[in-house]
Symmetry: D2
Subunit: 347 residues, 4 copies
Amino acid sequence: MTYSVAVSGASGYAGGEILRILAAHPDIEIRTVTAHANAGQPLVQHQPHLRSLAHLTLQETTPEILSGHDIVFLALPHGQSGQYTDALTDVSLVIDAGADHRLSSSADWNAFYGGDFHEPWAYGVPELPTQAGKQRANLVGATRIAAPGCNASTVSLSIAPGIAAGVIDPTDLVSVLAVGPSGAGKSLKPHLLGSEILGSANPYAVGGVHRHIPEVKQALRAAGAAEVHLSFTPVIVPMARGILATSSAPITPGASDADIRAAWEHAYGEERFVQLLPEGTYPRTADVIGANTALLGLHIDRDVNRVTIVAAVDNLVKGTAGAAVQSMNIALGLDEGRALTVNGVAP
Amino acid sequence: MTYSVAVSGASGYAGGEILRILAAHPDIEIRTVTAHANAGQPLVQHQPHLRSLAHLTLQETTPEILSGHDIVFLALPHGQSGQYTDALTDVSLVIDAGADHRLSSSADWNAFYGGDFHEPWAYGVPELPTQAGKQRANLVGATRIAAPGCNASTVSLSIAPGIAAGVIDPTDLVSVLAVGPSGAGKSLKPHLLGSEILGSANPYAVGGVHRHIPEVKQALRAAGAAEVHLSFTPVIVPMARGILATSSAPITPGASDADIRAAWEHAYGEERFVQLLPEGTYPRTADVIGANTALLGLHIDRDVNRVTIVAAVDNLVKGTAGAAVQSMNIALGLDEGRALTVNGVAP
Amino acid sequence: MTYSVAVSGASGYAGGEILRILAAHPDIEIRTVTAHANAGQPLVQHQPHLRSLAHLTLQETTPEILSGHDIVFLALPHGQSGQYTDALTDVSLVIDAGADHRLSSSADWNAFYGGDFHEPWAYGVPELPTQAGKQRANLVGATRIAAPGCNASTVSLSIAPGIAAGVIDPTDLVSVLAVGPSGAGKSLKPHLLGSEILGSANPYAVGGVHRHIPEVKQALRAAGAAEVHLSFTPVIVPMARGILATSSAPITPGASDADIRAAWEHAYGEERFVQLLPEGTYPRTADVIGANTALLGLHIDRDVNRVTIVAAVDNLVKGTAGAAVQSMNIALGLDEGRALTVNGVAP
Amino acid sequence: MTYSVAVSGASGYAGGEILRILAAHPDIEIRTVTAHANAGQPLVQHQPHLRSLAHLTLQETTPEILSGHDIVFLALPHGQSGQYTDALTDVSLVIDAGADHRLSSSADWNAFYGGDFHEPWAYGVPELPTQAGKQRANLVGATRIAAPGCNASTVSLSIAPGIAAGVIDPTDLVSVLAVGPSGAGKSLKPHLLGSEILGSANPYAVGGVHRHIPEVKQALRAAGAAEVHLSFTPVIVPMARGILATSSAPITPGASDADIRAAWEHAYGEERFVQLLPEGTYPRTADVIGANTALLGLHIDRDVNRVTIVAAVDNLVKGTAGAAVQSMNIALGLDEGRALTVNGVAP
């Protein structure tokens, strides 16, 4: 069967990427695209790369327009999905690419986002280890899905296997991320101007204030950590897309090198879209651009008794839109990888 | 008086930057430039940006040609300076931009470089705290100077003040660096091609193998650390120049926030070229391009009980050529900042 | 049916892109990948983004190894295909991504390339107008195909419609191209280093010496020009992929604005992969990255009485590998767009 | 003597660059910096690279605050200088980096800018040939100076020598420019976001609508052209700074190759900041970053009977702020190159 789809926030980066992926999905008909300020304009004016969708016009984002589709994707600024999700009772599957339905703690929501709190939905990172198995189990047959934060899922996928296996200590984690500016969306802020970003590496949200921190901690607790402490420093670098996260965790006393590597192999050995590279090799973001793949390289550093995990993800695909479509495929009982590719566009 | 200067390795990036800085130095006459494969060609063919030196021709790099100058700068591949330094007995001041005279441990040299070991020279990072004061003391009147490794000095400057003040623990350090490819020199290696670097973040020398690690450890021991353990991960990002180093160190039990901040303020409060930014602000590499400035931002993260230091340096200036000229100025008794600027070229 | 394929030059950029596209082609089995210096190594060591082909090992490039496939793609340095093409008599379809079988004039070959001249094959730019119709006609049922030069096909597609319709004068053409370095291949040349390319716009092959000039002239003569004169200036800019060609041609006396626009609309109105944008809009290379699409914007500038055509192409897709696969599809009688997309990966 | 200076628009790119250059000028005291929305904030919050000016606070831009300085630089959005320049009667030297005092034709002003027309001032491109000699003559002792548009002066410098010498025909000029986004200022517009610019070449103001066109035509008429027709296409490419302009002009019948080359050699042979490169060599923008240098490469293309001139300029230095300071030096009778360098910051 063919599912009818509406995508809100269609003039933004996350919305555009959802559309790019869905445009190649054989089971999906993109019927409606909506926006806020740009309603009434052709989609292709804001997404000139989506040539196959040149016939679509942006409509207003209202519950009435979104209702009546089999599936609705929300790609709205954080804090704005909630007003729609309550009203979309007749929609079989709603997938929120914003943060509104990610956090289970209202205290975390208030501290990092603010505004009305909304209940958490199934978390759209299927491969992420949990104490009960994997997040995938929550997505099978799901009707409401929260796509992950791009930085959050990259770091969680990097660290969770070690926690699930008990080989690392989650109370002294350090993550430093080189990220492209598209993760911040199409926002008109001075620090996102091309002139500011070209030729420079710019730290932001330094010092425990990045909004993805509580999301990582929640995911790692779900993987078995009693308590999580995390130093998290993102750095914007001059590439439109991509996250290269370097994470470091203390090794649990007694864990052998073999134990450690086995933890990640166990977690991802059978996965298509999360792959552990052979020893001594590390991923580049170029290798995952346009792909739904997270590539991980792992080093056991006995000088500091830490595991270093280097992870490469396309923030707009595996970090957001690909994760959303992969989760949709699981929820609908389709092949998990439909319309998604493991091969990056490089160079 | 005017000092006559020869620069070897003048067709490379470090040599070119030494020349760019010296070209504006009122006390220096650039008399001779030498190269290896490119000898006989006009300098400007390899350094087309050095318009004021268009009259110079590259000569062979030989002891005979280098001798007879007041000052010689060596900007040769690592392991190649030693053969010349022994022969330049008549040269008043020799400054090596290579690694040959940086390390005091022959074991480190053999493990990370190999080939003949040479004695360590005065280390060209004047502001770096030592147990006795600062490295500057060793440079006053020096006749042989080793300019630092760019990544090494950036990380050492970030961490040393906390060690000197006893507020951090040097046995569990983590540094992740976003670096431009010019730090690797003008080498014809596939991973340095533009197509490989554009649009991508590429880790390299992951896992304790980077050659600057022993140099950092040596500098931190000089600052007072009994033992240093360091996880060090450099990531090449698409900017020609610049290092953005994020370093993290555990806080010594009992050290207060005020103690910690005071350590860095004490170390750099009177320095021109190493500046601690106000609380809550962090540097961008764009702010130091072309400048001899190291900018540091410091965050005390009580969630993990670690200090995070973000440092921005132009690898070719403060990281190499600027450090060399600053050290030269000190050795000669000139104003330390002559021909050097604190202002970056941004955007 | 499934066709068996061998790709030579599989460790380079053009070879890698052919593999990326074919990996998603339902009628193709990639059986063999070959290389020269890298033979014996895993493909993924040189193309780490091709995760779905991680099982393949690079073999030697020899006629014996290439023979016995239904289809062979050659992605070798210019001048090296000829030695293989003569020997591949048993291969039903050979597609050369090099220049060896593009030019019909041995004088042009000798002037711009040199070495043995080889006969021209069907030219792999299906949409290109010819006096007889389109190049597509030569590709139907073809057994030997020459994929185009990326800059050449971009400029030819820009200008040919005006020549075919007689509305522009081909004797005073001016083309200036902003191009990414991947068009130059994975060659270890100093001017292709990342440090040289980042933050800079670098002209190359200025002054009538670029090898794609005779290819453009040949294509424009095929479109009806008696004589072609062309000023052609490529500029390498800091993006891995993409060509943004700005071409300008004098308007034939008497040609109305409507005549002019109609010429391009007539040529491409029914085409999927070459699209003329609405008046007043112009393409960006980001819009075609990863896509087989050439986007054209056209301006009629009566101040100089010239038509300006701005064209955006991904040099590795529509410029090379996509053109090769599209031509293969046509030759085999498959849907022309199989495994190809019109949607770019942006931002 | 020391001149007191006020710079308005000090939080923008042009204002920042004027300050960066003046900070190294021995005859200048930067006393006042002003801004609009950012008044009251520290300068260094908006220009974190200007470390030596960290003591300055942005004041309101009012005639009262600007008055009472020896020299005032205006770096305001186009159309906003005029309201101040009328009031600054007591200021000895006013230099406008905006367009308000560039055009002599009110019709041009109305067509390309709109709003109140203001009288033209001495044009700040000293080296530009005029029928009477050079624009420099108008700057000696000037009290009111209009700094040039960056694209305009780059193209004018490229073409004017051929017009002055009568060797090219100004009625069929074609210029295509690869430009960095800093030329558009620190404006919050979607097409200037980093995500839009990274990895892409984006044409803008195509089709005779760019505001620098009348400025080029005016400069070329001053060089002797009776009539100028110009096709002008700028393309934003992913580098923060720099203009690489490729201009093409028909050769006047009878002009020999020697005549042509002599025209440019005659114009710039004695100039420090505008240099013609040797035959067969062409400039890169990297070679002029941070420098006040315009580098030109010239090719005589007899296939199309056109001269091709490739020019590299740093839009913020020789294109704007450097031109302003160079003009100031001339007006004040100082050495023309004071505080300016010919050497670029590369790589």
